[in-house]
Symmetry: C2
Subunit: 278 residues, 2 copies
């Protein structure tokens, strides 16, 4: 009689996946099983710990709804989201780096004219934002579409304010013939990711805080170029060294300059990678 053998179990599971019709799915499932089993073996997972994991995932599932996505928060706080971004960046040096998308983007945000107001009543210190969208050779990208979104001075996005019912501190702007964009918004501040659920308990149990450094989100799209999803961070913000979701890249940190009238000015150029010829 052969006793229970961990290696045999892993082999059986891998063998059961051998007939997966889709080659890529077979590769992903095989790697997932190998790493999942290696994790359990490495730590000699106890049955009580296994159940704690089942219970944690169950609670993540039950708190997730149309407005709250605990599994994305979990991925973010375990660095998996940022790692996935990094694994999919094969751009030449000189292109603007990408960072995490985050859970607060909204499709079809309102268009804002050149020089117009993105804040739309969101509270905060006024901030002018301008710059250019360029290609790798320095060519201006005309008609690029920039989705911009951010939290207000209380650290909340519009979608986190039940009953608001309209866009604030979020909009879509376009570049002119010289690749320039220019809009008014408010100064971003650090904020805590939602931490009243299982992910917040994980952060607390591991001695971590839920804070993100101050940043402005951008998604930049233009025909002939790869879409860029990124942030611009404030150089004087707290938490640049301990972002709860590991999204900070040094190249994305920038001085937001205070002006004589107390407003701020942020200038930043985005460099896009051309899509390969078809």
């Amino acid at each position: 009689m052969r006793p229970l053998n961990p290696q045999d179990i892993t082999r059986s599971v891998l063998a059961s996946l051998a007939d997966t019709p889709d080659e890529r799915l077979r590769e992903i499932m095989g790697s997932l099983v190998r790493h999942l089993h290696a994790f359990a073996q490495d730590v000699k997972l106890s049955e009580a710990e296994w159940f704690a994991g089942i219970d944690f995932l169950t609670r993540c599932g039950h708190i997730t709804d149309e407005k709250r996505q605990e599994f994305i928060l979990l991925s973010d706080t375990l660095g998996l989201s940022m790692l996935t971004v990094a694994l999919n960046q094969d751009k030449p040096a000189g292109c603007t780096e990408a960072t995490v998308f985050g859970p607060f983007h909204v499709e079809d945000a309102p268009h804002v004219e050149r020089g117009g107001d993105v804040a739309q009543g969101a509270k905060g210190t006024p901030c002018w934002v301008r710059g250019r969208v360029l290609g790798l050779k320095g060519e201006p990208v005309a008609g690029a579409k920039l989705d911009v979104w951010q939290s207000d001075e209380e650290g909340l996005y519009d979608v986190q304010r039940p009953g608001l019912g309209r866009a604030q501190a979020r909009g879509v702007v376009q570049t002119d013939d010289q690749g320039r964009f220019d809009f008014r918004s408010i100064v971003a501040v650090p904020y805590a990711i939602p931490h009243d659920g299982p992910v917040g308990q994980m952060l607390q149990a591991t001695g971590r805080h839920p804070w993100r450094p101050a940043h402005l989100h951008f998604m930049v799209q233009a025909p002939g170029y790869e879409t860029l999803i990124t942030h611009v961070f404030r150089a004087d913000s707290d938490y640049l060294e301990s972002d709860a979701v590991f999204g900070v890249r040094p190249s994305l940190v920038c001085d937001w300059l205070e002006q004589d009238d107390g407003s701020f000015l942020l200038e930043f150029d985005f460099v896009l990678n051309a899509t390969p010829p078809a």
Copy 2:
């Protein structure tokens, strides 16, 4: 400017966990992050694949309720449950092997007297079940409590029949002074695990079936001995080589013998491991 580097991201996440007060949690979280990141790197996970994973977990969470536990099904079908059982078996040779607990156990099942009927109206071919509970030196274990549960001839457990409202094919029996138990039930048949949710989709996409070979569940408890959670499988059952949850151990497969009157007889002895002296 340093580009996005996967290794740097993994290092940052591990560093963020370094102050976890509980040493065991620190070990588990560190190993989890290393294996999770290694998985993503090995397969060069795309952003669309990452999102498919988030969506899969979300759907598992939303189908899970008090009667349906999709995360346990996922763990079972990826072999993690059986691996966890194996990792926690340090018993001497000669002890009965353990296998997966499964989702269908119920606390406080009805007590059934020696020779009594566990089926309680569940449909199936009658089956007598008898045997002994022994210690490793062959000593009989008197007063051992055996929880037994199984599906009926349609492959359903009582808890899967809405409106039934009482126990069927489930009960608690005890051993006598000689360590013997003896009860009547029905012949177990193969059944499919719940496969109308995300786990069922995973099985289908990987070319797997959802079937389990015919088996009877036991949980055996006695003072002075480690609790044993196991199955006894039918030697002539289909799916012994392809159990959807990887629970079959050769030592747990047994002939269920047909009698002259058409009923069956299953005889099986359980050997428990003594708990270490305090």
